[in-house]
């Protein structure tokens, strides 16, 4: 309960960001931090909790971005419908590719998911009739609702904020429940789970599907933040960012990934005081973090807690 109260306070504090600064640049970093954190939390569900390293997230992110952009530009729908389609199409894709992939080994799953991501990149670049190829789709119109156009970065920030809070609340409700506990159990010992009457496949497929839908919706929101979508939206940079957030935060820790999502999205920007060296410093911080905390931030705290328990037991 105390955790949730703290989370509420932090969420409200984040809502206030556009009131604290007039800088579009800082608010824009805030939008990225929120959206990246959602995508990382979705990756954490399938990788951190269930133990399935999915590179397909990059594909879902891209398909989501294109789905929402095309809903508006080619099919005349609204931004809101675009985000819903982004989630729905990715959920269907995840079931379609997840079902055969989850029948293979965990290693084959990683390769299969990577293949899907690469395939999505090819489609974005080469299916010119649908995606307009390398030129992309520029000038995505700002979303509007109840007669209000969210046409500035500050206004768009509220959409990103509300979306992130809703998605993170959904993921928290899953991860902190019996379902999350069962996913952790599946990651640790699938045979034991089966010996206890639980069929792992529906759990794994659901986790993959929900993770895909949330990632796709996040991509859908993010493409409208950028105002343009082209094949660079499927750059491996995004996958790498989500993965770094999850690993530094601590795989399988909801709050650890949340904290690291906000910090790591803002960090490269905070390092701009040294334009020449900022990515080198960023890299050095990551390497150092992995040396000191191989289990991520959450893993570090957990190790301390276990050491205390051992001591208390004598």
């Amino acid at each position: 309960m105390r955790q949730l109260a703290l989370a509420l306070v932090v969420a409200l504090a984040f809502a206030a960001l556009p009131l604290l600064t007039t800088s579009n640049y800082i608010v824009g970093v805030g939008v990225s931090a929120l959206i990246f954190t959602v995508a990382a939390a979705a990756l954490n569900l399938i990788y951190g909790y269930t133990g399935l390293l999915s590179f397909a997230q990059l594909g879902f992110w891209g398909v989501g971005g294109y789905a929402s952009a095309l809903t508006v530009v080619s099919f005349g729908g609204s931004f809101w419908w675009g985000v819903i389609w982004a989630a729905a199409i990715n959920a269907m894709l995840a079931i379609l590719i997840g079902f055969p992939m989850l029948r293979t080994s965990r290693h084959a799953f990683v390769i299969g998911s990577l293949t899907f991501a690469l395939l999505a990149t090819l489609v974005a670049r080469d299916w010119v009739d649908l995606t307009r190829g390398p030129l992309g789709i520029p000038n995505l119109p700002p979303p509007s609702a109840f007669g209000i156009a969210f046409d500035t970065t500050a206004k768009f920030y509220w959409i990103a904020w509300a979306f992130s809070v809703a998605m993170l609340a959904l993921l928290y409700a899953l991860c902190s429940s019996r379902i999350g506990r069962t996913l952790i159990a599946i990651r640790q010992n699938e045979d034991l789970v089966r010996a206890q009457g639980i069929s792992p496949t529906p759990y794994k497929l659901s986790a993959f599907t929900i993770s895909a839908a949330v990632t796709g919706a996040a991509g859908g929101v993010y493409s409208f933040h950028l105002g343009i979508i082209d094949p660079t939206f499927l750059d491996f940079y995004y996958m790498q960012t989500f993965l770094i957030i999850v690993i530094i935060g601590g795989t399988g820790s909801f709050w650890g990934v949340l904290a690291s999502g906000i910090v790591l999205s803002a960090l490269p920007e905070a390092l701009r005081f040294s334009a020449d060296f900022r990515m080198i410093i960023y890299g050095a911080i990551l390497v150092l973090a992995m040396f000191v905390m191989p289990g991520g931030v959450a893993g570090w705290f957990r190790d301390r807690a276990i050491a205390r328990q051992r001591e208390a037991l004598g």
């Binding site: 019996r178 009457g197 328990q309 037991l313």
Partner: protein, 265 residues
């Protein structure tokens, strides 16, 4: 007494090499039945086939009048047969309480929505699970570890966690795969006492074990396997007196005699 588990003519071969060659036996409700035999005699294959972790080439497995032959492990568990594993398997990153809660969650009616809304159905299911778990934890003497991640426990304690988890859903029969292998002698006596007391309370066990002393002191009935066939079956006393069993375990009687000669010389 009637048979709760009836195994008929189990057959299993790996790449043409027969691991089970027509094994039949029955486990009476409320009994402790032991399954012993030298390495490679087919004990582990037999229980893997019974619990659904390996596909049978032939034969039938009947659990409480229901044919469970060829079903998936999770369906066999739901039908009332739970098991432990030879190399101890527990969820080391979850607390003792969560380890036991997962073992029974498939058997209660609470859904995710129930949990989200904290409905009465959910609260009752959790309360029932907790009270069963407390009971078992007290029985195996792990009360002080209730809220602690089970990764910190010793190997013997982990075996007790696995045993308690297998008992959580009140199964019809519990299959234990080498419950005391690698466990220190004091702990073995504790496990033996716990099993005997559970059995008095009505639990049925099928135990695979190398430790002949443990098996014969605990089991009502013992089945001896050798090279995929049933070599002998009977009470502990009968098995102890059976020269074929001695041979299977220790070599031929003449070799035993020779060994005794050397020992006295």
């Amino acid at each position: 007494m009637s048979a709760i588990l009836d195994v008929r003519d189990l057959r299993k071969a790996y790449a043409g090499v027969s691991a089970l060659d027509g094994i039949s036996f029955a486990v009476e409700a409320g009994s402790i039945t032991g399954l012993i035999g030298p390495n490679g005699s087919g004990k582990s294959t037999a229980i893997d086939c019974i619990s659904g972790f390996q596909k049978l080439d032939g034969g039938r497995v009947v659990l409480a009048d229901a044919d469970i032959t060829g079903r998936s492990p999770h369906l066999i568990a739901r039908a009332g047969l739970t098991r432990t594993f030879q190399t101890v398997r527990i969820y080391e990153r979850l607390s003792l309480r969560d380890n036991l809660a997962i073992a029974t969650q498939q058997f209660d009616p609470a859904t995710w929505i129930d949990e989200l809304l904290r409905t009465r159905r959910y609260r009752e299911a959790v309360a029932a699970g907790d009270s069963r778990a407390r009971e078992l934890v007290a029985l195996v003497g792990l009360e002080r570890y209730w809220d602690i991640e089970t990764g910190v426990l010793s190997y013997g304690q982990k075996k007790l966690v696995a045993l308690a988890a297998a008992l959580m859903p009140r199964p019809r029969i519990v299959v234990l795969d080498e419950p005391v292998a690698g466990v220190n002698p004091t702990r073995i006596r504790e496990i033996e006492a716990a099993l005997a007391s559970l059995n008095r309370a009505g639990e049925t066990f099928l135990i695979v074990e190398h430790n002949v002393e443990f098996i014969t002191s605990l089991c009502h009935r013992v089945i001896v396997l050798e090279e995929g066939r049933k070599l002998a079956e009977g009470t502990s006393a009968e098995i102890h007196a059976d020269s074929r069993v001695l041979e299977a375990y220790l070599g031929t009687t003449s070799e035993i005699a020779a060994a005794e000669m050397r020992a006295t010389a």
